[in-house]
């Protein structure tokens, strides 16, 4: 099992939620995981219902069976200062650099540099060991940028190669790439059963594969329950309105005669079922497209009332049952 689990997905597919659930799932049975946020959105804090995360690893949840989930929101500027500190022992000069805008300059000057700092911090956490020789974290889960940017983001080597041909950043990029392209890493993509997110997933996987980054699993999020099955939908195409009206009437919803309460429900209910049928067909098509990718496929249920902490534990349990951790 890869120790660095990168979670990406189209915006709006719930990748932060899935990353958090995965971190919880991987922490079960006394394991320790680190959940890393790189985009400064404080999505993790919102999800775990805590205050904004600082640039510091802190425990945010306890998993069933005694495991622990730590979280870290990486701030690229602070990461750069850290980095300078480590290599150049800058002290207060670092603060002066910050004042002058040099840090801002250096982190904006090249998106590649920014990304090296972010992925570098995650890779450092993956490799970090305690005095006992045990890894500080059993797993590191990264809530990564969306599918459209993920390959660029992870492929820091290419990004930086043109810019920093020598120097510590160059070396750091090399070290990061060794981890990212190894079986130590798995990149998972979160999608919905809708056309655009599925198309993006297909494109994203092609990009990851051509950059030789290790693709992990596809996680279909927010899957709606199947209310009507194939047989129902078959019947829906031929069922006489009056029969449905009588059935509604027998359920206690009024008269089935024309103009009766039950009869007047038939058209709107059938219209809603038509919409359902249309979506059902679309979802089946999208499932087929995903199945062709030949990757492990998982489905997580939709929580109609919105996601909360209880829902997160539920998703973690679901992921465990599906053998993701």
């Amino acid at each position: 099992m890869s120790r660095l689990q990168v979670v990406s997905g189209k915006g709006g597919t719930g990748k932060t939620t899935v990353a958090a659930a995965l971190a919880l799932a991987l922490a079960t049975e006394g394991k320790r995981t680190l959940l890393v946020e790189v985009e400064g959105r404080q999505g993790i804090a919102q999800l775990f219902e805590t205050e904004a995360l600082p640039y510091e690893e802190r425990k945010i949840a306890v998993a069933p069976g005694g495991g622990e989930v730590y979280a870290l929101a990486i701030d690229p500027e602070l990461a750069l200062l850290d980095y300078l500190q480590m290599f150049y022992k800058l002290g207060s000069a670092g603060r002066a650099l910050k004042k002058l805008g040099a840090i801002d300059f250096a982190t904006t000057i090249a998106p590649g540099l920014r990304d090296v700092l972010l992925t570098g911090k995650a890779c450092e956490a993956v490799r970090r060991k305690e005095r006992s020789g045990r890894f500080a974290y059993d797993y590191v889960v990264m809530d990564a940028p969306p599918t459209g940017r993920i390959t660029r983001f992870l492929n820091v080597n290419d990004e930086v190669a043109g810019l920093a041909k020598i120097g510590p950043i160059h070396n750091q990029a090399q070290a990061v790439m060794r981890v990212l392209k190894s079986p130590e890493t798995a990149v998972h993509l979160v999608t919905l059963l809708e056309e655009m997110p599925v198309q993006e997933t297909v494109d994203g996987i092609a990009e990851l594969r051509s950059a030789r980054l290790p693709v992990g699993r596809i996680i279909v999020n927010m899957v709606r329950p199947e209310v009507l099955d194939e047989t129902d939908l078959e019947l829906l195409r031929t069922v006489p309105r009056s029969t449905v009206a009588r059935s509604l009437s027998s359920a206690g919803l009024g008269g089935a005669r024309r103009g009766g309460h039950a009869e007047r429900l038939v058209d709107p209910l059938l219209a809603q079922a038509e919409e359902y049928a249309e979506r059902y067909t679309l979802e089946h098509e999208q499932r087929a497209v995903l199945a062709e990718l030949g990757l492990p496929l998982h489905e997580l249920p939709l929580f109609a009332e919105g996601m909360d902490l209880a829902g997160l534990y539920e998703l973690a349990r679901e992921l465990r049952e599906q053998g993701v951790s």
Binding site: G11, Q199, V227, R241, L248, L269, Q272
Partner: protein, 466 residues
């Protein structure tokens, strides 16, 4: 949970946003669609453009990252960064629709090519720092979208430009990035880096200069000295060829504030999307950007909204429970027959089929019923119809719960921003990828009143009719 009041199923904001007058008004020259990702921004922009064109305006739609099939439907799946005329629209009113997909690198290249002589342009385009910046700087896409908007406006070939905004990490990026890129490239630091000689001459700046060389030294060590040199050559080349970036960013910014520009915030009736929308509304107000209103996409409705979720579920259980008993006893037919006789008042034969039937088959409901009853099905047909009906009721219960959730979210938004005019777009079951679909969206965008439930059909409190 209380039964949702049908009169409250639709948002009753202080104002309804009427898009047609906005689209038809010749003074409207730019419409910017903004909002968080995944709420149907691009589709909204395309639908608005199509609607305006079919009402006689000469429109160009600038999309940033359209879904492939949506782009194909407008004939802009080729990424050549120039507006293409969209075929197949109704041009009887004399309008035209053009569409283009933004290629940010190409746009950046074009700026360089337009402002520098060939040799210098080649030097800039080949600079590794330029290549990184033009393809990947966090704000480049936003900046280039605004740049392209400025270019299209300057060409004055279209009387309406509809712009989609980039799928930013947050709503902020779109307004901030052009400034950020502008001030970054124009900023004090980059000036210092590129013109250390000027500073050296001034006594008071000596200290700063020492600081600078230490810093460039550090950055040089970190990035490799060559990168800094690339930056310096790049910035001075850019600077001498065509003025400051900040000036350009400022000009675009002013264009957005000018009369003739209308912002539409696009959202879906979901917690996060509306939170972002509220944030955007506040931000636009703070920046003096003219907000026309909120487009609320994917709003659900129900033709049977008088049947509450609870009653629908209870009825579904009524239909399902006896079936389980019957399966054990194997007497389904016996149960169904008397039941159907008792409680349903079957249509009298000969009654003309007046109401339009929504059953997929063309025949009248009465005939359908008869033919089905005559033929009969191998297994118990009533039972599977009951099962289907129970499913229909459960589906309806889900729908009603969704309606009341959407209602709560919308109420929260209107409570915060009663001044914002709103138009709602009813949800479609699938994605839109042709002109017909866009036209439907356009109709739904414009036809807020027509979507309102027929007032004669339901009791409404008098104050809701205002």
């Amino acid at each position: 949970m209380s039964r949702p009041d049908p009169a409250q199923h639709r948002l009753s904001p202080a104002r309804l946003l009427d898009v047609d007058p906005l689209l038809e008004d010749p003074r409207t020259r730019i419409i910017v669609c903004c909002g968080s990702g995944g709420v149907g921004k691009t589709t909204t922009a395309a639908a608005l453009g199509l609607r305006a064109a079919e009402r006689g305006r000469k429109v160009v739609v600038l999309t940033i990252d359209p879904a492939r099939r949506l782009a194909q439907s407008m004939g802009i799946d080729s990424l050549d960064n120039t507006p293409r005329r969209v075929k197949g629209i109704d041009d009887s009113a004399g309008g035209e629709l053009h569409a283009m997909m933004l290629d940010m690198k190409r746009t950046f290249d074009e700026i360089v090519e337009a402002h520098a002589d060939r040799e210098r342009a080649a030097a800039i385009l080949g600079n590794p720092f330029y290549q990184s910046l033009s393809a990947g700087f966090a704000g480049t896409q936003e900046y280039m979208a605004m740049e392209k908007l400025g270019q299209l406006r300057a060409r004055d070939e279209w009387d309406l430009i509809v712009v989609d905004t980039p799928p930013s990490r947050s709503a902020l990026d779109f307004l901030d990035a052009p400034k950020r890129l502008g001030s970054f490239l124009d900023g004090r630091l980059i000036r210092l880096l590129t013109a250390p000689a000027k500073l050296g001459g001034r006594a008071g700046m000596k200290f700063l200069n020492v600081g600078m060389s230490m810093m460039t030294g550090t950055l040089g060590k970190l990035l490799g000295g060559q990168l800094l040199k690339d930056v310096q050559t790049f910035v001075s080349a850019m600077d001498t060829t065509f003025g400051g970036f900040r000036t350009r960013a400022d000009a675009t910014y002013k264009l957005l504030q000018a009369p003739g520009t209308a912002f539409l915030v696009v959202a879906a009736p979901e917690r996060d999307a509306l939170r972002e929308a509220a944030y955007f509304v506040e931000r636009l107000a703070a920046e003096d950007m003219p907000l026309a209103g909120l487009v609320l996409n994917r709003v659900h409705g129900s033709g049977a909204d008088r049947l509450s979720a609870e009653r629908a579920l209870a009825a579904a259980e009524n239909l399902e429970e006896p079936r389980i008993v019957d399966q054990e006893g194997g007497k389904a037919v016996l149960r169904n027959s008397p039941d159907a006789q008792d409680s349903s008042d079957s249509p009298t034969p000969g009654t003309p089929a007046g109401a339009p039937a929504s059953a997929p088959e063309g025949g009248s409901p009465t005939e359908d019923a008869e033919s089905s009853e005559n033929t009969g099905h191998a297994e118990d047909p009533e039972r599977s119809v009951d099962q289907l009906t129970a499913g229909l009721l459960r589906l309806h219960a889900d729908r009603m719960q969704l309606l009341s959730r959407e209602q709560r979210t919308r109420d929260r938004f209107t409570a915060l921003h009663p001044e914002v005019a709103v138009t709602e777009v009813a949800a479609l079951p699938g994605d839109v990828h042709d002109l017909t679909g866009l036209r439907t969206i356009g109709d739904r965008l414009a036809a807020d009143e027509r979507e309102l439930p027929d007032p004669a059909d339901r009791p409404e409190p008098p104050e809701a009719t205002a």
